[in-house]
């Protein structure tokens, strides 16, 4: 049996760990509250944008005059041969299964798309090419180990007797699955402008036909006990205002219970945040039963607004993922603190036993010594 001094040391070290995990839990709780608020504040804008686009669609400005042909490239559906997958995870660990679950879901997506004849034949051909774009260091590290990075060939064609140059980086695909860009920088200070820039690059690739579909994999956050991993189709846009979710992974009851306990002790509501007055009004935005005048051609307006809708979708996914990350970390750190508490109890018991055993041995020695006299 270990001696008393060793046990004391271990107890002290476990206590220190518990201090740290407790502090991390409280920090995550505070960050979660802020992240939740941000996600809330982003909703009116997204809602209003979707409304205006829907009302433009109702006015049938999206379709050509002959009827049927879609006027915006982001609405055009093509056979999915080259797919872009945006994997949104976090920068830091210690968040339970937050990062690994996203990774697993993304891997599953890739595997089904790569497997020959495994996919629905009318919709998607088997063995698609997949470009992975990662957000968050954890997601980057995971896929960097598995897949090679994409390469580009720099083209510089001179024409007009060398007066002008055509400069372009042409993609050279060597493997069916490659990592194109890492967008981890977005997470540091999440701003709409930065997201817009990345979204532009994605939209441009889609419009050029370099990619035929764009999917997002991320942790969706409804409340502390309602988070799920979703695979969402970003492009082409099928239905405005209601994202198309192709795969979902819900929390188990057990996970929900643990999360609820953690939230309770951290003073966070487990209910989904209620709709604010602003949100309710946002729903009415642009839906007034009047014929609007348009300052410019509605079709032009639609063309300008649609890319913004895509940015909003990505921005929304990032905000949700951040909130989800903090919630996961809070829950994980709560479990860690509880485990540390249990361990301390166990070790204290063992230590007391050891001490008692030592005392008993000593007494026996004294008694038997006295008896020998």
């Amino acid at each position: 049996m270990a001696n008393v001094l060793d046990l004391k040391r271990r107890i002290r070290s476990v206590k220190n760990t518990r201090q740290i995990t407790k502090a991390m839990k409280m920090v995550s709780a505070a960050k979660l509250r802020r992240a939740q608020e941000r996600a809330m504040q982003a909703r009116p804008y997204a809602q209003m944008l979707a409304n205006v686009l829907q009302s433009l669609v109702r006015r049938a400005v999206v379709y050509g005059e002959e009827g049927g042909d879609v006027m915006h490239p982001l609405l055009v559906e093509r056979e999915e041969k080259n797919v872009l997958l945006l994997v949104i995870a976090g920068d830091k660990g210690f968040a339970g299964a937050f990062n690994s679950n996203v990774g697993k879901a993304a891997q599953r997506f890739i595997d089904t798309r790569r497997a020959p004849h495994a996919v629905d034949h009318d919709k998607a051909p088997a063995e698609q090419n997949i470009d992975i774009e990662t957000v968050g260091r954890k997601s980057r590290d995971l896929f960097k180990r598995r897949y090679p990075e994409a390469t580009w060939k720099h083209v510089d064609d001179a024409y007009d007797n060398g007066l002008s140059h055509h400069i372009e980086d042409v993609r050279e695909r060597k493997q069916p699955v490659e990592l194109t860009h890492d967008l981890s920088a977005l997470l540091g200070k999440l701003t709409f402008t930065d997201v817009d820039r990345s979204a532009h690059s994605i939209i441009e690739r889609y419009e050029r036909g370099e990619i035929d579909a764009v999917y997002l994999v991320y942790n969706e956050f409804k409340s502390v006990i309602a988070q799920r991993i979703v695979v969402e189709k970003l492009l082409p846009i099928r239905k405005l205002g209601s994202p198309e979710i192709t795969a979902v992974e819900e929390m188990t009851e057990e996970q929900k219970e643990v999360a609820a306990k953690a939230a309770e002790t951290a003073g966070i509501s487990i209910h989904a945040t209620e709709e604010t007055v602003m949100e309710e009004e946002a729903k009415k935005f642009g839906t007034a039963d009047v014929d609007y005048l348009y300052d410019e051609d509605p079709a032009v307006l639609f063309r300008h607004l649609l890319p913004r809708y895509v940015t909003t979708q990505i921005y929304h996914a990032l905000l949700e993922s951040v909130a989800s990350e903090h919630a996961s970390r809070m829950t994980a750190m709560d479990s860690a603190s509880n485990n540390a508490g249990e361990m301390i109890d166990k070790l204290t018991l063992t230590m007391n036993r050891a001490r008692q055993a030592a005392i008993t041995t000593e007494i026996i020695e004294i008694v038997s010594g006295a008896a020998a006299l």
Partner: protein, 143 residues
Amino acid sequence: MADEQTSTQGLLAVRVVTPDRILVDATADAVELPARSGYMEALYGAAPLLAELGAGEVRLHGGNSGNAKFFVASGFAEILPQRVTLLAETALKTDEIDPGAAKTELEAAQQDWNSAGDDAEKYSYAQGEIRTAEEKISAAADR
């Protein structure tokens, strides 16, 4: 006469909403806003209108708005008889603008413009950025 008019007229409810927050929620007699095709002013009872926003200054007059001014860039506006809502990707109170940062943005945009080569898309994107930065600087100077 002017007073009489405002007392019989209602006030416009004005909102400026960005992806991050609701910047303004106020009432006003009139709102000047930068549509893509030029500045326009909305008064109480205006005909319903949807317009895309360019970069520029939004000025509120009267009501409880305190004649506030804001800088907005890229977004759109919904004008209803009693309500004006601006959705802007970028919206700042004029005193929130950092002129130094705006100048750096302008320089970066000009650099993009110079290096755009024959890529029309990059070119027009850079042009938009330049315009935004310029408007931002002038809005900051105007406060």
